[in-house]
């Protein structure tokens, strides 16, 4: 399978890329890791007339802690988030999630920015970003703006990144005090999209009372879904079994899965209930260790 004809430019600065993108309008697509876009182009689901390759632009790939935030450059490869000891201190969830994204070769190229900007509810990172309450920086010719993750996913393959814009950075607040986070998905085979996946981030005070809870769900809604009622069911509790059971139950009720090759609706709700419970427990245990 070979993509249809297109023109290709690999600019060496972000400004140059933004100008090109502005001039070419929606005839152009931005190429990051390419492991979602190129398969779509090979299947001719996407037929851009021009590809703007970001891989030669310096300064878009980094992991740093600054001003109480973990800042991740949009072109940072999945493998780098998976292997970073600095990231693992506060966010062991990255090692959980990266291991479940496709396979090592894909993670060598796939980028965190591309994973989010693709806007696919079947991708795993969006649920993690919801749980961690991330925000993203988006650059355009007029400057940069920051969008909270709850306002980022618009619909099927549609995000807050507008025509002429490029996602440049992901910002994640460093948790204060004791925290834990974890991700798991049920998949039919290694590297498959999730039948259902759950990301959980918890923070607690010295008495073990939950002060903050973030729960994101993968592939059980047209967009990545925040389990709002589940989060509320945990905050203010000691994360006892009853609170965890209600949070898991709410997540299974509030998601909107559809029947497909991976299973029917009831099965997927069951998976979400089971995995939510498991991930809350895992995050809770990690928080107690901190």
């Amino acid at each position: 399978m070979i993509p249809s004809t297109f023109d290709y430019t690999a600019p060496s600065s972000l400004d140059e890329a933004l100008k090109l993108l502005h001039d070419l309008g929606d005839d152009a697509k931005v190429l990051a890791g390419g492991h979602s876009l190129i398969p779509m182009m090979k299947l001719r689901f996407a037929e851009p007339e021009h590809l703007i390759d970001l891989n030669n632009i310096p300064g878009l790939s980094y992991l740093k802690i600054e001003g109480g935030m973990l800042k991740i450059g949009a072109m940072t490869r999945e493998v780098e988030t998976e292997e970073s000891a600095e990231v693992a201190v506060h966010f062991p969830i990255f090692a959980d999630v990266a291991k479940l994204i496709a396979d090592p070769q894909v993670r060598n190229f796939g980028t965190l920015g591309g994973n989010l900007a693709h806007g696919d509810a079947a991708n795993d990172q969006p649920a993690v970003m919801l749980a961690l309450d991330a925000s993203v920086e988006i650059a355009g010719l007029d400057g940069r703006r920051t969008v909270g993750i709850d306002d980022f996913f618009y619909g099927f393959y549609s995000t807050a990144v507008q025509e002429g814009e490029i996602l440049t950075e992901i910002l994640i607040p460093i948790p204060s005090g004791r925290s834990g986070n974890a991700y798991h998905k049920v998949e039919r085979k290694v590297g498959d999209y999730a039948t259902g996946g759950v990301a959980v981030h918890l923070e607690m005070d010295e008495q073990g009372i939950c002060t903050k809870a973030g729960i994101g769900l993968t592939n059980v809604n047209p967009t990545p879904l925040r389990a709002v009622r589940s989060e509320a069911a945990l905050v203010g509790t000691s994360l006892d079994d009853a609170a965890i059971a209600s949070a898991a139950q709410y997540a299974s009720e509030d998601c909107n899965p559809s029947t497909d090759l991976r299973g029917d609706i009831d099965y997927k709700r069951h998976i979400i209930r089971a995995v939510t419970k498991k991930m809350i427990n895992k995050a809770k245990q990690l928080a107690f260790k901190n």
């Binding site: 399978m1 070979i2 993509p3 249809s4 004809t5 297109f6 023109d7 290709y8 690999a10 190429l31 390419g34 492991h35 190129i38 398969p39 182009m41 090979k42 590809l51 390759d53 891989n55 291991k99 496709a102 396979d103 090592p104 070769q105 894909v106 060598n108 190229f109 290694v190 590297g191």
Partner: protein, 168 residues
């Protein structure tokens, strides 16, 4: 509109004109004429097209040839030296790590990066490490054995037994 690219494959420099839509695997096989890199599923699932780009294992069916401009590529043709086969090749040979051999170039290139990052992996780490490479003949036991053998060889440790393991 064709683009001129210059890249190194197995240490040798090539300059060619390519269409931007040319996939790297087609470029290597058809424009360069090295057919050791295979095309299996053509959907980045099977790993038969795995090569190294600047030392990182990559699925060359999902990368454009133009993206490889300025890079150093290693294919299966480039891993043996004048001194003999690469330890991973020896591992596959000694442990019957292949049957039809179609997945083998990709398996070996992937294993080379795996062993570089993790010189003494556990069996579980190897199985996760080759989760992007499918074999449809042998099952994976002898492939895992081959990689364990190559790891030992690369570390200079005592080589594990190559005797077949029979499961009762």
């Amino acid at each position: 509109m064709k683009k001129e690219i210059t890249l190194k494959i197995n240490g040798e420099e090539f300059t060619k004109e390519v269409e931007p839509r040319t996939l790297l695997v087609h470029f290597i096989r058809e424009d360069i004429g090295m057919t050791g890199t295979h095309i299996g599923c053509d959907t980045s699932s099977c790993g038969a097209c795995t090569i190294l780009i600047d030392g990182k294992s990559a699925k060359s069916c999902t990368i454009l040839a133009v993206q490889a401009a300025g890079k150093e590529i290693t294919t299966v043709e480039g891993i043996a030296t004048t001194e003999g086969v690469h330890p991973i090749q020896e591992g596959f040979k000694e442990n019957h790590g292949l049957h039809c051999g179609f997945c083998t170039p990709g398996m070996m290139l992937r294993a080379i990066e795996l062993l570089e990052k993790n010189p003494d992996p556990t069996e579980e780490e190897i199985r996760w490490g080759i989760s992007g490479n499918l074999c449809r003949c042998t099952g994976y036991n002898n492939i895992v054995k081959s990689i364990i053998y190559a790891g030992a060889k690369l570390r200079g440790d005592e080589l594990p037994s190559t005797e077949p393991v029979f499961v009762e």
